[in-house]
């Protein structure tokens, strides 16, 4: 299995195929189809719904297609995934969850559908802790909330999942993640006979001559058990110490979501796949800067010494292993993890690595250190969207949403990977 820090000389090619319309069919015999060059995708919902037949932890799956402008709220959203498939070896897609953990990832050719996403819904809160419900998670397809989440402007194939009676949290979570990724991979397989992508991006990380600044992302994720964990090649990001990773592998499905707290401030799988930060760093590698790798670190640690150790470790890997002149530190979730971000920023600056942090706000900052003198705000999650009542709700839920839903509840609305365009300003 490649070491996480191994940077392959082979480039990653991402071929993107636009999908501008979807036709739902139910005949139970085909899979998805897309006529080459045609942005219309045909999805057999019977086939999608059969995906849970070999998942004993799932009781049922109902598939829906929703479009921007539909008067629909998707509730209890677990994750959103951009349909993608390894073109030369579909079975290797999403290594560690679907493909073998050591499958090539971050190199070769990946086909991806643009304009469509696959979302899963399941009332996971009741399984994680019925006495401590996780915040409701929404994607609105219309109303002011639709523009808050990136998934309000995509056509969405929604997998409405229900847990099997008596199944454990760990089993339900694993089955839900697997089913979602299978649906996303199978959807993208519609590109199999289509060689003409709408756009093709090549990401290479070759040697760079000359004097360019070395800028690395320090990406924070969490691992707090089933329902509260992000996965690297299928294994929890439960790090003894931070590690260097190939940023192209992260865009290519090596990192998948499984943490369902704080919807606005967590990071969906699709947001990792589409990460603007990683795309910018990779696109400008060799021209404006050098990005020799990314640092994966862990936040939401309970112990003060663990926090110091992790922050210090991330800064040392950035400085010494990757030779960073500067780092962009992202944050995962709210509250506790902001202390991890602040400590990481401090550790970087103390090693001479100029650091910028990306943080969401809860009416302001949760924590701060003097070294955090350059922070990007991804918005105040306590602000409420304008009132909107959907005609229908998809996703098992007993909870009635307030008329004006706080930003906190919209998936990826204030993602601290930096993909959104919200910003908090003082008035």
């Amino acid at each position: 299995m490649p070491r996480p820090g191994t940077i392959s000389a082979s480039p990653l090619t991402v071929a993107a195929f636009d999908v501008r319309a979807v036709r739902e069919v139910r005949h139970g015999e085909g899979r998805v189809s897309r006529t080459p060059g045609d942005p219309l995708l045909e999805i057999d919902l019977d086939v999608v719904e059969s995906l849970c037949s070999d998942e004993p932890a799932l009781g049922s799956l109902r598939a829906h297609v929703v479009r921007p402008g539909d008067s629909v709220r998707i509730a209890n959203v677990l994750d959103a995934v951009v349909p993608s498939v390894k073109a030369d070896d579909p079975a290797a897609t999403f290594p560690g969850v679907l493909g073998p953990a050591d499958a090539l990832c971050g190199t070769g050719r990946t086909d991806r559908l643009d304009g469509i996403a696959v979302l899963s819904t399941l009332d996971m809160g009741a399984l994680i802790d019925p006495d401590d419900p996780i915040p409701a998670s929404y994607v609105d397809m219309d109303g002011s909330g639709a523009s808050l989440t990136p998934w309000g402007s995509t056509i969405n194939l929604v997998l409405e999942l229900v847990a099997a009676q008596g199944a454990s949290l760990a089993d339900v979570d694993a089955a839900a993640r697997r089913t979602l990724l299978r649906a996303a991979r199978d959807l993208a397989s519609a590109t199999a006979e289509d060689s003409d992508a709408d756009t093709e991006s090549v990401f290479a990380l070759g040697e760079v001559a000359g004097e360019l600044p070395v800028v690395v992302p320090i990406l924070q994720f969490t691992a707090e058990g089933p329902g509260l964990t992000t996965y690297l090649r299928g294994a929890p990001v439960d790090l003894v110490s931070p590690c260097a990773v190939d940023p192209r592998a992260l865009l290519d499905g090596a990192l998948t979501a499984g943490a369902y707290d704080s919807p606005a401030a967590r990071v969906s799988t699709g947001t990792i796949q589409r990460s603007r930060l990683l795309h910018r760093l990779l696109n400008e590698h060799g021209t404006a800067l050098v990005c020799p790798g990314a640092v994966l670190t862990q936040g939401y640690l309970d112990d003060a010494d663990d926090k110091r150790r992790m922050a210090d470790g991330a800064a040392h890997i950035a400085a010494e292993e990757l030779g960073a002149d500067a780092a962009i530190c992202t944050t995962y979730s709210l509250g506790n993890s902001h202390t991890d971000t602040m400590l990481t920023l401090r550790a970087c600056e103390q090693l001479g690595v100029r650091a910028v942090g990306i943080v969401a706000e809860e009416g302001g900052l949760t924590d701060h250190v003097a070294e955090a003198d350059a922070l990007v705000s991804t918005g105040n999650v306590l602000e409420r969207a304008d009132g909107w009542t959907p005609a229908s709700v998809i996703g098992e839920t007993d909870h009635e949403a307030p008329a004006q839903v706080p930003v906190l509840h919209y998936l990826d609305a204030a993602t601290q990977l930096g993909d959104g365009r919200l910003r908090g300003v003082t008035i």
């Binding site: 962009i328 506790n336 990306i358 922070l375 930096g418 919200l422 908090g424 008035i427």
Partner: protein
């Protein structure tokens, strides 16, 4: 703006309302028709005042609750589109009254604009509820303040956003509002980091605005003191009978511990959602240190333990809620004569 389309109420003190100077500072609240004093200067600026409310500065300071109740009842009757308070310049009592009325009116959904010297305690009293136009310390700044006051007042009365503090000329209220910008957070982060590397000027998008709490004075003699236990560790009687939430608490709770020697695991648990509760549930004394404080009480090293402990969950709790919890619990403690608190945080 059509003057008939909006309703404007103006609050001022006894002096500016023409009721008298210091000798009239004890004047009870009054309701007057039309503009008074500086209110007359608002009409040519497009903000004609329908009703003026006035109160003596001393009366408000000494009878705050009934004064506010009267003024707020009148505001409810008038249902204004905007409330204007002041300008109060650097008059502490007048500014405080403006700030308190502004705060309470804004909580009732009435847009408020006021004006005063930035150091006036009324700015803090308003708690961000009002748009505060900065003025000079004395009345010489009236002619500069009124046009700004009126422009913001007109915008609020018409339901418009007056614009940013810099554009509209008011003091930042400390409220973090979202705006949608052209460039993503990632793009802005890259801009920032490259500016830092090049040694160029850069500006953070969010800075800390934490309150600095000075330490309390030492307790003169702890061996004589009444000591209380307060915690945000989410410690409650087994079964959580009052349904304390695990995070984003909206309330605090109080439970009797008179005659209780120790927080046994059979009787207490924690419902906190922000840390691994295994150790805390195995021995809740490590969350609320009743066993240790009882020993100190027995040894005479503290005077007596307050017979109630106070609890909430301190995770994801908005600062404003936590501030209110603190104020309310502190008021109870002060009333009970408590002189020292062991406050355990997690």
């Amino acid at each position: 703006m059509s003057p008939a389309a909006v309703r404007v109420v103006h609050y001022m003190n006894q002096f500016f309302a023409g009721l008298g100077a210091e000798e009239a500072a004890g004047h009870e609240p009054v309701r007057l028709e039309g503009p008074q004093g500086p209110g007359r200067g608002l009409t040519p600026l497009g903000l004609p005042v329908d009703v003026t409310l006035a109160c003596g500065d001393d009366y408000f300071a000494e009878h705050e609750d009934p004064a506010l109740a009267t003024l707020l009842a009148w505001l409810e009757e008038e249902a204004p589109d905007v409330l204007v308070c002041g300008p109060a310049f650097n008059s502490g009592r007048y500014g405080y009254a403006c700030g308190m009325l502004a705060r309470e009116a804004s909580r009732r959904g009435i847009p408020v604009v006021t004006a005063m010297f930035p150091e006036n305690p009324g700015v803090i009293a308003a708690e961000g509820g009002a748009y505060v136009v900065p003025t000079t310390a004395n009345v010489a700044g009236m002619k500069d303040a009124l046009p700004v006051l009126a422009a913001i007042g007109v915008a609020l009365a018409e339901g418009r956003d007056p614009g940013s503090p810099e554009e509209a000329g008011y003091l930042p209220r400390g409220i973090r509002r979202n705006e949608v910008v052209d460039r993503s957070g990632a793009d802005r982060a890259l801009d920032l980091v490259l500016a830092k590397l090049r040694g160029e000027a850069f500006e953070t998008e969010v800075a800390p605005a934490f309150e600095v709490v000075p330490p309390a004075s030492p307790v003169p003699d702890v061996s004589e003191a009444l000591v209380a236990l307060v915690s945000e560790a989410g410690c409650v009687p087994q079964g959580n009978p009052d349904h304390l939430v695990s995070r984003r608490a909206h309330a605090w709770l109080a439970y009797p511990i008179d005659g209780v020697a120790s927080m046994s695991a059979d009787a207490y648990e924690t419902v906190h959602g922000g840390f691994d509760t295994t150790a805390g549930n195995a021995d809740p004394n490590r969350l609320v240190p009743l066993d240790a404080v009882r020993r100190l009480e027995t040894q005479g090293r503290i005077g007596r333990l307050h017979p109630t402990f106070y609890t909430t969950t301190g995770v994801d709790t908005p600062v404003a809620s936590a501030t209110r919890f603190g104020q309310e619990i502190a008021a109870e403690l002060v009333n009970a004569g408590v002189q020292a608190v062991v406050l355990t945080g997690t």
